[in-house]
Amino acid sequence: MAVGTHGESFMETDPPSPPGSAPHGGTGLGLEGLAQVAGKIREAVESVIEGKSAVVRLALTVLLAEGHLLIEDVPGVGKTMLAKSLARSIDCSVRRVQFTPDLLPSDITGVSAYNQEQREFEFKPGPVFANIVVGDEINRASPKTQSALLECMEERQVTVDGTTYALDRPFMVIATQNPVEMEGTYPLPEAQRDRFTARISMGYPDPAAELEMLDAHGRSSPLDRLGPVAHDADVRELIEVVRHQHVAPAVRQYAIDLVTATRGHPELRLGASPRATLHLVRAARAYAALDERDYVLPDDLQDLAVPVLAHRLLPTAEAQVERRRPEHVVAELVARLPVPSLRQ
């Protein structure tokens, strides 16, 4: 069972309560403003998740890249905690869905119920109608239900009974899942995995961080103390800033090279999709922005290659037998591909 599930209902709504510390807002956030806001969010999240700054940074990157995040790890390392703390530190609507095997697609997207008073069908929006949707243990649901997320994640809209409803922005799905080898799990379909910008894994905390965690969690849950530090409007602006990050042609070419290399790799049955290229460059923009850079470096792509690409790749049977995981393949590609040196 995942740590940090408060309440056993499969749906939970965090009301957008205006906390005491009103987040700093305003228009015209430049790169400096972005760094400032992002720094606050990071701080807030790291007050809950100790010693995982790289993971937090990745999560933030995905948020700014308008992507969706898949957190995969064994139970109890703080997947849900990360998802919830990130969601809470932003002043926006957050919904949490606990995926179970009997969850139905309409439980996620919403249903049209017959309103007897008005004698017509009325749409009851499901939990996806929020800025941040935390899907806990997403791979415990049946593939059919998992697929219900497909349309919302890519097109940011929901179609129920022929009517299409647009979703709010920012919209981010943070899903956690247990490793596919665990019991009672359904692996995510490739199409859905491809829609997640990045997959990260938490890893165990180091002993010092764990000790600190004991102290912090001993008294009260730090999550309860966490208030929003940024408005959803801030996040929208940050996303706008990220969109205008400069990507030099050489860097774009490098991204193409990386992705192309996965497609022809002998140990991979399925290479990365063009969507993966898009996600990679988009994430690299956000990653550079978090670094207060207005241009993307090959280093950004290198750092992001494994989280952004690895979960989309399928190893061949031989590679599986040799226990070669796609992560290894991507890391090896990164170490091998020459970095573009010319500007053209």
């Binding site: 400069h246 030099a248 470096l297 591909l337 020459p338 970095v339 500007r343 053209q344």
Partner: protein, 843 residues
């Protein structure tokens, strides 16, 4: 497979061409190979053990040889009978003898062509057995190589690249065909056809070549790379020796010899002079070699065949002659005799009639120095030694006229001769380093008191003929090993003209007098007025010494008269003082041949062979003894060593120079432009157009600094990964080298500038000067962090130049690969067409 094996054998046998004159042998070899192949195939039909399959080939070869060479004696012209076997054996004996007699290229007498066909046929049997029957294609290269190595071992010059290439390609074809069959042995390859192009539309006719394309696995890429590797290997093998200094493929792009009539230089290969002379001398009867008439008032001079100008420590030989069209006699006046100047001389006309029985006399016996020779046929002259020779004609049975200039210097003139020019000294006065010191001391001791070269020469000759206690002895045991010339000079002092001539020539060289050994005939004896007869026993060897003004003059150290070489005559100038005793100056007084002690008894079997050696300095006793190799001695090894060192230094400094130049170019490109407009400025994407007086693109400075730093890192042996971005490089190098603050700061600045230049939107102009200073700081930091050896190498032999060269070559390589691909496509298309035509062919 059988056919390919046969073709490979034939291609390999192409390397034999320098051994034979004419191409007729190839027809015989072809026949033999075909016979062997047929025999092998026939035997294989019966599925007998491998050993018998070889017998089948041998038997077929035997039948073929019988049918071609002794059809008369065989039953039905093919089946061997005892008499045909005897005839065959005789023929083989003839061929064997001929092969021993001649140096390559040998004339194509029936015995030789029989031997050639048999040899090639046997190789074909082996190749067939190994490659076809035993399925070991690779070892089948060994017999091919053996065949190829025959000419390489026999001939000093190289086998032409074309023949080598043919042989190599034949072997490659054999390997390829073998692998193809092995793959084929697994049955038809299973693969997934590309249905899109194979499925015919309903109603449309089936595509012509659809099934053919569908049957074959898609191994074209593999095959293409295989072909490429093979072709490249052969090309490298052919071309590399040309590029390596010290190996001179003389035959490159010109057949190495034996070919006819092309204008290029060729190495003359004749029957070994000594061997052919031996043969003539070995005749039991003292046969007449030639007769001549001479109008020389002073009596005829010696008739010279060869001038042996090279003493290699064991023997006197002549350097391989380089023959070309310009050397043809063609009725012209021959080159002037070297060194002949002020000394009195007169023209002598000699008409020589060589007996028809004389075989293979490919060098003309002419009095020195020939000025004009009239003879039919393709005769040529060697300009330096004035030897007259032919590549294909023999003088036997011919008559010819020689106009020669005979120098008759006086002793005083020779004594007054100035020193010889340096090229003559270099070539003719060098002594191998291993001449025993006793011989050198002896030479000085014998000639002590003489002040001039001429005086020394006279004393030497007198020492040999009178004072030294030498005995002319044809019965002496022929020397067997080196050092015996020294023995002859120092101890036993018994020998023939050859030892005398070689000994005097060597001692003259020790004394610094240019010398060589001449071979030919003494004047012989006069039987009627004006008509001279030269017999085989008149064969002789004598030294020629060089004196400026008179040229090459003859000396005669061999004792003449009854107790020596019967018809030998010492020239007048060699005996200036009153003591010209028994040896007369005029040939008229030459002792009659046949004097009991002077001549080898013609009839006795033992005398013949010994006399042979008398004439063969090259393999005879005289030369073998003392010394080895005169190329190593003398003064010029030092010069060579110096030159080689210089060249080596220059080669070694190439990387350094390249590095300095590239560094200069890097920075020159970013230096702020002055008055001079740069026309060749590379076009830039974003920077200002290469106009006059505009500052260069700031990115260029960063790139230059980065490139410089990269080169420095490579020079210092630091790992540079292509997958590292600038900041990754800076981080890694900083950690690796534990750079101090200034170093890592400079490194970081360079990396940052490069990063901005490469990837950022904005242009931040970093002054090139500061970058240059940073690069210098980083270089010093690099140098401080590596060992001394690496540091020195970075200075003197910067490895980064290799990288630079590669990057230049890579462009060329890419283009070449493209061209190769296109060629390959073409070949593949042609091959497919051919295969389509002869589909169903058994092998």
């Amino acid at each position: 497979m059988t056919i390919v094996a046969g073709l490979a054998t034939l291609a390999g046998s192409a390397g034999l061409y320098p051994l034979f004159s004419g191409g007729g042998w190839f027809v015989h070899a072809l026949g033999a190979v075909v016979a062997v192949m047929a025999g092998g195939m026939l035997v294989r039909r019966f599925r007998v053990p491998a050993v018998f399959s070889a017998f089948g080939g041998v038997a077929a070869l035997h039948l073929y040889l019988t049918a071609v060479h002794v059809p008369g004696a065989a039953w039905l012209g093919v089946i061997p009978t005892p008499s045909s076997e005897r005839a065959l054996a005789d023929l083989i004996g003839d061929g064997w003898q001929a092969a021993n007699q001649y140096a390559a290229p040998v004339p194509l007498v029936p015995g030789i062509s029989l031997l050639a066909a048999a040899g090639v046929g046997l190789v074909a049997v082996l190749v067939d057995l190994l490659a076809v029957r035993l399925r070991r294609a690779a070892p089948a290269g060994l017999p091919l190589l053996a065949m190829y190595s025959v000419p390489a071992a026999v001939r000093e010059d190289d086998v032409s690249w074309l023949a080598f290439g043919l042989g190599a390609l034949g072997f490659l074809a054999l390997l390829m065909s073998d692998s193809r069959e092995q793959v084929g042995g697994w049955g038809r390859a299973v693969f997934t056809p590309r249905w899109s192009e194979e499925v015919p539309m309903a109603g449309a006719g089936a595509p012509q070549d659809g099934p053919a394309r569908g049957e074959r696995p898609d191994s074209s890429a593999l095959a293409a790379s295989g072909r490429r590797i093979g072709a490249a290997a052969v090309a490298v093998a052919v071309l590399l020796p040309a590029a390596v200094p010290g190996i001179h493929p003389r035959g490159l792009f010109g057949m190495g010899g034996g070919g006819e009539g092309d204008g290029g230089l060729r190495t003359v290969t004749t029957p070994d002079p000594l061997v052919s002379l031996k043969r003539e001398l070995a005749r039991q009867d003292d046969s007449v070699v030639l007769t001549y008439r001479s109008d020389d008032p002073a009596g005829p001079d010696y008739l010279r065949l060869y001038a042996l100008d090279r003493f290699d420590g064991d023997r006197w030989t002549y350097n391989a002659l380089q023959s070309s069209e310009e050397d043809r006699l063609a009725g012209r006046t021959l080159p002037a005799a070297p060194g002949l100047g002020a000394a009195p001389s007169h023209v002598v006309k000699t008409r020589v009639q060589v007996r028809p029985e004389v075989k293979r006399m490919t060098f003309l016996p002419v009095p020195y120095a020939p000025a004009r020779v009239s003879i039919k046929g393709d005769w040529r002259v060697h300009p330096a030694s004035l030897m007259v020779y032919s590549l294909r004609d023999s003088a036997g049975g011919r008559s010819f006229t020689v106009e020669s200039i005979r120098a008759q210097p006086s002793g005083a003139e020779l004594a007054a001769a100035s020193s010889a020019p340096s090229d003559i000294l270099d070539q003719y006065a060098s002594v191998p380093g291993n001449v025993p010191p006793q011989v050198k001391a002896l030479a000085r001791e014998v000639t002590s008191g003489a002040t001039t070269g001429y005086g020394q020469a006279v004393r030497l000759q007198r020492w040999f003929t009178e004072k030294g206690g030498f005995r002319y002895d044809l019965a002496a045991q022929p020397p067997q090993h080196g050092g015996e010339l020294a023995d002859f000079l120092l101890h036993n002092r018994r020998g023939y003209c050859e030892q005398f001539a070689a000994g005097m020539a060597v001692m003259a060289r020790v004394l610094g007098i240019p010398s060589r050994v001449a071979m030919g005939y003494t004047p012989g004896e006069q039987n009627r007025a004006g008509e001279w007869t030269v017999r085989s026993r008149d064969a002789h060897a004598w030294p020629e010494l060089y004196f400026e003004g008179a040229g090459w003059v003859r000396f005669e150290p061999t004792p003449a008269g009854p107790a020596g070489q019967g018809t030998a005559v010492a020239p007048a100038y060699s005996e200036p003082s009153s003591d010209a005793p028994g040896r007369e100056a005029g040939q008229e007084n030459a002792p009659k041949p046949g004097s009991p002690s002077s001549e080898p008894e013609p009839g006795t079997p033992g005398s013949g062979p010994r006399h042979n050696q008398d004439l063969g300095p090259a393999d005879g006793p005289a030369a073998e003894p003392v010394i080895t190799d005169d190329d190593g001695g003398g003064g010029f090894p030092m010069a060579w060593l110096g030159a080689a060192l210089l060249v080596a230094l220059m080669l070694l400094s190439v990387p350094l120079v390249v590095r300095l130049l590239s560094r200069r170019r890097h920075w020159a490109a970013v230096a702020p432009r002055g008055k001079k407009p740069r026309r060749d400025a590379p076009p830039r994407r974003r920077g200002p157009s290469p106009g006059i007086g505009r500052d260069p693109d700031p990115a260029d400075a960063a790139h230059a600094a980065w490139g410089e730093m990269r080169a420095d890192a490579l020079d210092h042996g630091l790992d540079w990964r292509a997958s590292d971005s600038p900041r990754a490089v800076a981080r890694r190098l900083g950690e690796l080298l534990e750079l101090d603050d200034p170093g890592s700061g400079a490194l970081g600045r360079i990396a940052h500038a490069e990063e901005l230049a490469r990837y950022s939107r904005s242009q931040q102009a970093v002054p090139p000067e500061s970058l240059k200073a940073d690069v210098r700081t980083v270089r010093e930091a690099f140098a401080a962090s590596v060992g001394r050896g690496t540091r020195l190498r970075a200075r003197l032999l910067p490895p980064s130049t290799v990288d630079l060269t590669f990057s230049v070559l890579r462009g060329a390589g890419g283009r070449t690969l493209e061209a190769a691909n296109r060629l390959d496509d073409l070949a593949g298309r042609l091959g497919r067409r051919v295969r389509r035509k002869d589909r169903g062919h058994p092998e």
